[in-house]
C-alpha cells in the first residue's frame, strides 16, 4: 500500500465533510485566499506549470483550457464542474465529493476567479443523489461564511455555485450534452461550433472541468506547484486518482504518482487477482477505454507510455478481468452498455452499435459467420472516425483493442494490423 500517495486526497478522513469549521481547522480555504490575492494570469501560469491534464478523460491541458476561457470576452461566464462520473469502473470523483467537498468548491471558486465567471454549476450524476444534501450543505455553509456568494472575503469577486442533478444518461458526461441537460433538454450533444468556451450554458462562455481537475487546482494552490511536481516522472509529473476494480483483491480508489507500472498498480496496490486466477484482460479509462493483455503489465502508467501501446488514462478507471471470463463475453458487456447509452442522434453510433451488437451476439453464441469479424471491424472504424461525439468515437475502443490483443479469441490466427 506504500505505493499510493496523498496529495489530492490529503484531506480524506482528516475532517468532517459536513462541517466547514472542521474544514477550516485543517487549513481549509487557504487556496482560495491565495488565489484571490493573485492575478488571473498568475494562476494560469501555475496551472500551466503543473501541466495537469483534464481528468474527465479527454486529457486536455488544464492551464491552456483556463487561459482560453479567460481570454474569451464577456463578464458573465460559467464554470461547470462535471460530476457526472458515468464511466463504468470509475468512482474517484465520488470519493472527492463525499470525503472532501469543500476542496472541490474551492477549485470552482479558483477556476471562476481565474476565468472571470459569475456562476458555477455542479452537474451531479443522478446515481450520486445521496450526496446532494452533503454538497448542498457545503455550498450553504460556504455562503454563510463568506467564501461563496457576493464579494468573497471582501475581494470584490462574486461567485455563486448551483447544484444540478442529471437524469442518469452516460452521454451527459460529454460537455455539450451536459449543458443541454442543465438547460432542461434531452441529453444529446450539441453541434460545434459554436464552442462551449464561447457559447455554452445559457449561451454564456463556459468552462467545464472534472471534479478531480478542480480538486487538484485547490491542492496545488494550497501546497505550491513545486510540491505537486515532486511526484510522478519528469515527463509526466504529478498524481492521479485511479479507480481500481474487477477481479482484484483490494478494489478501490487510490491516489498514485504517475509512472507506476500497471503491474505495481494491480498486484501491489490491488493485491493481485483473487482465487489464484490469472489476469486475462485489463481495461483502462472505463467502457470507452481500450483493453490490454498481461503482456502489457509492465507499461508505466503515464500518458505517453500508455499511448505507445494505444492505451489511455481516460477516466482513470482500471478494470481487471481474470481468466474465468471469455474476451467475447467481456466485449458483449461493453456493447450492451453502449447500446443502452448511445443517444441515437447520429447514424454511425445508433446504427453501428445496432449492427455490431448483433455480430457480437453471434460470436457469444458461437454462430458467427465467416465475414462477421471483418464487418464488425469495418463499422467499428466508421464509428471511430465519423461519430458525432466522443461516445460514438470510443464506443468500439474495447472491441478494436480486444481484437488486436486477443486475435485468437475472434478466430484470427495472425495479429491484426493497427
Amino acid at each position: 500500500m506504500s505505493k499510493t500517495v496523498s496529495f489530492i486526497t490529503e484531506n480524506f478522513g482528516k475532517y468532517d465533510p459536513n462541517s466547514i469549521d472542521s474544514y477550516l481547522s485543517i487549513g481549509g480555504f487557504t487556496a482560495t485566499k491565495k488565489a484571490l490575492a493573485m492575478s488571473s494570469g498568475e494562476i494560469i501560469d501555475i496551472a500551466k506549470k503543473a501541466s495537469v491534464r483534464g481528468r474527465g478523460g479527454a486529457a486536455y491541458d488544464t492551464g491552456r483550457k483556463w487561459a482560453q476561457a479567460a481570454a474569451v470576452p464577456g463578464d458573465d461566464k460559467v464554470v461547470i464542474c462535471n460530476a457526472d462520473e458515468g464511466e463504468p469502473c470509475t468512482f474517484k470523483d465520488r470519493n472527492i465529493l463525499s470525503k472532501d467537498p469543500f476542496r472541490l468548491l474551492e477549485g470552482m471558486i479558483i477556476a471562476g476567479y481565474t476565468v472571470g465567471a459569475k456562476n458555477g454549476y455542479i452537474y451531479l450524476r443522478e446515481e450520486y443523489r445521496h450526496l446532494r444534501p452533503l454538497i448542498k450543505s457545503a455550498i450553504q455553509q460556504s455562503v454563510d461564511k463568506g467564501y461563496l456568494g457576493d464579494n468573497i472575503l471582501g475581494s470584490g469577486f462574486s461567485f455563486h455555485i448551483h447544484l444540478y442533478s442529471g437524469a442518469g444518461a452516460y452521454v451527459c458526461g460529454e460537455g455539450s450534452t451536459l449543458i443541454e441537460s442543465i438547460e432542461g433538454k434531452s441529453g444529446r450533444p450539441r453541434i460545434k461550433p459554436p464552442f462551449i468556451k464561447e457559447c455554452g450554458l445559457f449561451q454564456l462562455p463556459t468552462l467545464v472541468n472534472n471534479v478531480e481537475t478542480l480538486a487538484i487546482a485547490t491542492a496545488i494552490l494550497q501546497n505550491g506547484v513545486e510540491e505537486y511536481l515532486k511526484y510522478g516522472t519528469p515527463q509526466c509529473p504529478g498524481t492521479k486518482i485511479i479507480s481500481l476494480a474487477g477481479n482484484v483483491k483490494n478494489p478501490g480508489a487510490y491516489e498514485i504518482p504517475f509512472g507506476l507500472t500497471l503491474r505495481e498498480i494491480i498486484y501491489d496496490i490491488g493485491g493481485g487477482i483473487p482465487d489464484g486466477r490469472e489476469l486475462k484482460i485489463f481495461q483502462l479509462g472505463g467502457a470507452s477505454g481500450r483493453t490490454g493483455s498481461a503482456a502489457l503489465l509492465d507499461t508505466p502508467y503515464t500518458y505517453d507510455d500508455l499511448h505507445k501501446y494505444n492505451l489511455v488514462v481516460g477516466s482513470g478507471g482500471i478494470l481487471v478481468v481474470d481468466d474465468r471470463t471469455r474476451v467475447i463475453d467481456f466485449i458483449k458487456s461493453i456493447q450492451d452498455f453502449f447500446i443502452h447509452e448511445s443517444c441515437g442522434k447520429c447514424t454511425p453510433c445508433r446504427e453501428g452499435n445496432r449492427q455490431i451488437a448483433k455480430i457480437i451476439d453471434r460470436f457469444v453464441a458461437g454462430t458467427q459467420r465467416p465475414d462477421d469479424l471483418e464487418t464488425a471491424l469495418r463499422f467499428a472504424n466508421i464509428m471511430k472516425n465519423c461519430a458525432f461525439c466522443g461516445l460514438g468515437e470510443t464506443a468500439q475502443s474495447s472491441l478494436l483493442s480486444a481484437v488486436e490483443h486477443f486475435p485468437e479469441e475472434f478466430g484470427k490466427t495472425e495479429v491484426a494490423s493497427k
Binding site: I339, G344, T347, K358, N385
Partner: protein, 582 residues
C-alpha cells in the same frame, strides 16, 4: 467579409470566411453526399454522410458543419472517405424499409439517389427495421417511421420554422425515433397538417396522403360529374415535376393535362379567391366602421386555422368568418353550379388541386357541407396531380395550352397573387381602397407587403384614416403578432397569415426541393401573371359580379352567409400547466 483561399480536391478556390466545406464544394461543382443538411435549415450534422478528409486532421471532418480556414486542403473522394460514406449509407439502408417500388418518393428520394451513386448492391448487414406503427389516420399526412432516417429535418421545420412543436425526437440509441410526444397519432396532437415536414423529408417517411386513386375512381364513374379547381400557386410549381425551369408558368398546359385526365370541367380557384376578397373586404370594412373585433385576420390558410384553433383559441374572434377559396368553390359547386347545370349535387364530384396538405384536412371538416353533401370531395396536392399526369402517360411539356371553363374560369390578378405571401393583403387593399374611396388606386402594387421577409407591415391612408396592416408567413412569424393582440397592443386593422414560408407557393404539397431560392422564383412568376392580366382587381371580375346578381345578392348577404362563411372552434386540447407555474 474576409475571403479565404482553400483547396478542394486539388481545385483552388476563394470563398468568404464562414462558408462551410459543403457549400464551398458546391461552388466548384462537387456535391458532397448528405441527408440531414438542408439549405434553408440550421446545421444538424447527424447523418454523418458528408465526412471528408482535411489535411492535418486525423479524424474525418463533417463538411456540413465545418467552416473553411485559410489554406484548408480538403479531399472529398479518397478511398477512406468513400469507404466511410458507403458504410454509413449501408447502416442507414439496413434500418430502412426498402419497399422503394411502392414508395411515393420512388425516383425522388435522396437516399435512393445516394445508394445509386455509391452503387450499393449488397451489404453484409442484416436488414432489420424496428419501427413504430404507421401513422395514417389523418386526412393529410402519412408518417412511416420504418423509412425514417432520423435526419431531423422535419423536427427542425416543425419546431424552429413553424414553431408548431409537434414532431420531436424521443428515446435513445436504437430506440431513437422521430415522432410526436408519446408517439401520438398526428390528429391527436397540435399538428396543423401544413405538411412542411413532408416537403423537407429526404425519403418517404412523411408523405402526403395519396388521394389519386379516389380521383381516378370518380373520373371513371359514369354517374359522376367530376369538376376540378386549381389553386393559384399550383401553376407556378407544377412545371418542376416535369423538369421545366423553376418558376415556369404552366397554366395552359396544366388545364390541358387536366382535360386529358378526364375532368368534366376545369375551373380556377382564382375565381373564388376574388369572391373571398369581396366577402372578406366587406367584412373588414364592416368591422372597421361598425366597431367589430380588430385586427381581423385572414382565414384562407387551413394550416393557420388549425394553428389558431389549437394554440390560440382565445383569439378566434379575430378570424375572418370567410371560408377559404377552396371551400367557397366547393360550396358553390354543390349549390349555384348544381342548380345552373341541373345536376343533383350528390352526383357532382368536386376535386381541388392545392399546394397544400392541410387543405385535405379542411375539406373533411364536418361544417364544410352544403346541401347535405361534402363541399370538396377530394384534394390533390401539386405532387399528386403530377403523379396522375405521369401515370396517364401525358407528355406535359409538349401539351398545347388550354383554358379554364365557365362559370368559374375567370380570375383576376388579385386572385392570382393569393399564392404568394402578402397577396391576400394586397388583393384586399386593391378592393377595399376603391370601395371606400370610390376612387381608383394610383398604383395597384403594394410592394411593402411583398417579399420573403418574415413579418411585413404597411400603413395605407384611406379616406383620411391610417389603415395599418401586417403580413406573416410561416407560423413562427405569426406568433409575435398574436402576442401583440393578446396584450392588447396590436396596432393593426388587418393581418394576413399564411402557414407556409413564402405563402402557398411554398406549401407543404408543392414539389419536393422547394428551397427558398425556388420560392423566390415562384413568387416572381405569380406577380408576372398578375401584371399580365387585363383584370387585376377582384371587384372587377365580371363573373363574380354576375354571381352576386344571379345568386348571392350582396357580399355578407344571407346567401353568402349560408354558403361562404363559417365558424371556428377550439381544438380543445390545451394542456393545463397551471400547476407547474405555481
Amino acid at each position: 467579409m474576409k475571403n479565404v483561399k482553400i483547396k478542394i480536391d486539388n481545385i483552388d478556390l476563394v470563398v468568404p470566411e464562414g462558408t462551410t466545406i459543403l457549400e464551398a464544394a458546391k461552388k466548384v461543382n462537387i456535391n458532397i453526399p448528405h441527408l440531414c443538411y438542408h439549405p434553408d435549415q440550421a446545421i444538424k450534422a447527424n447523418c454523418r454522410l458528408c465526412v471528408v478528409e482535411v489535411a492535418g486532421s486525423k479524424k474525418l471532418t463533417p463538411a456540413c458543419s465545418s467552416y473553411v480556414f485559410e489554406g484548408m486542403d480538403v479531399q472529398t473522394n479518397t478511398k477512406k472517405v468513400r469507404d466511410m460514406q458507403k458504410g454509413i449509407l449501408e447502416l442507414i439502408l439496413a434500418n430502412h424499409n426498402q419497399d422503394c417500388l411502392k414508395c411515393l418518393r420512388n425516383g425522388n428520394c435522396e437516399l435512393q439517389a445516394l445508394c445509386q451513386r455509391f452503387n450499393i448492391s449488397k451489404t453484409n448487414l442484416e436488414d432489420t427495421v424496428e419501427a413504430l406503427p404507421l401513422d395514417n389516420t389523418n386526412p393529410s399526412l402519412v408518417r412511416d417511421s420504418a423509412k425514417c432516417v432520423k435526419c431531423n429535418r422535419c423536427v427542425e421545420v416543425c419546431q424552429k420554422g413553424q414553431q408548431v412543436h409537434v414532431l420531436t425526437h424521443s428515446h435513445r440509441s436504437v430506440h431513437y425515433n422521430i415522432a410526436p410526444a408519446y408517439e401520438a397519432p398526428l390528429e391527436e396532437t397540435f399538428c396543423v397538417f401544413c405538411g412542411q415536414c413532408s416537403a423537407v423529408c429526404p425519403v418517404g417517411a412523411i408523405v402526403e396522403k395519396d388521394d389519386t386513386q379516389k380521383v381516378w375512381d370518380a373520373i371513371h364513374d359514369p354517374k359522376k360529374h367530376v369538376i376540378v379547381q386549381v389553386a393559384p400557386a399550383v401553376r407556378v410549381a407544377l412545371g418542376d415535376e416535369f423538369n421545366l425551369p423553376k418558376g415556369s408558368i404552366v397554366t395552359g398546359k396544366m388545364v390541358a393535362a387536366l382535360r386529358r385526365l378526364g375532368f368534366d370541367k376545369i375551373f380556377d380557384t382564382n375565381f373564388t379567391a376574388d369572391l373571398t376578397i369581396l366577402e372578406e373586404g366587406n367584412e373588414l370594412i364592416k368591422r372597421v366602421t361598425e366597431g367589430g373585433v380588430l385586427p381581423m385576420i385572414t382565414s384562407c390558410s387551413p394550416g393557420w386555422i388549425n394553428f389558431i384553433e389549437g394554440r390560440y383559441d382565445h383569439l378566434l374572434d379575430h378570424l375572418s368568418t370567410c371560408k377559404s377559396p377552396q371551400q367557397m368553390f366547393g360550396a358553390l359547386s354543390k349549390s349555384y353550379y348544381a342548380e345552373k347545370m341541373g345536376i343533383d349535387p350528390k352526383n357532382i364530384y368536386t376535386v381541388s388541386v392545392m399546394p397544400c396538405t392541410a387543405k385535405k384536412y379542411e375539406a373533411q371538416r364536418p361544417e364544410m357541407v352544403t346541401n347535405g353533401v361534402q363541399e370538396v370531395d377530394a384534394v390533390l396536392t401539386t405532387r399528386e396531380l403530377a403523379r396522375m399526369i405521369q401515370s396517364a402517360g401525358i407528355d406535359f411539356a409538349g401539351l398545347e395550352e388550354d383554358q379554364f371553363d365557365n362559370p368559374f374560369g375567370i380570375g383576376t390578378g388579385a386572385g392570382q397573387i393569393f399564392g404568394a405571401t402578402g397577396g391576400v393583403m394586397e388583393a384586399a387593399l386593391r378592393t377595399v381602397y376603391e370601395v371606400l374611396t370610390g376612387k381608383g388606386l394610383p398604383s395597384l402594387n403594394f410592394t411593402e407587403v411583398r417579399g420573403l421577409k418574415g413579418i411585413k407591415d404597411a400603413t395605407i391612408k384611406i379616406n383620411g384614416m391610417d389603415v395599418k396592416v401586417a403580413v406573416a408567413h410561416g407560423l413562427g412569424n405569426a406568433k409575435p403578432l398574436l402576442k401583440q393582440i393578446e396584450k392588447g397592443e396590436s396596432p393593426y386593422h388587418f393581418i394576413e397569415v399564411m402557414a407556409c414560408p413564402g405563402g402557398c407557393i411554398g406549401g407543404g404539397g408543392q414539389p419536393i426541393k422547394s428551397t427558398m431560392d425556388v420560392k423566390g422564383k415562384r413568387i416572381e412568376a405569380i406577380y408576372k401573371i398578375d401584371e399580365d392580366l387585363p383584370l387585376r382587381k377582384s371587384h372587377k371580375n365580371p363573373d363574380v359580379e354576375k354571381l352576386y346578381e344571379e345568386y348571392l345578392g350582396e357580399p355578407l348577404g344571407h346567401k353568402s352567409h349560408e354558403l361562404l362563411h363559417t365558424h371556428y372552434h377550439s381544438r380543445g386540447m390545451k394542456y393545463d400547466f397551471s400547476e407547474l407555474n405555481k
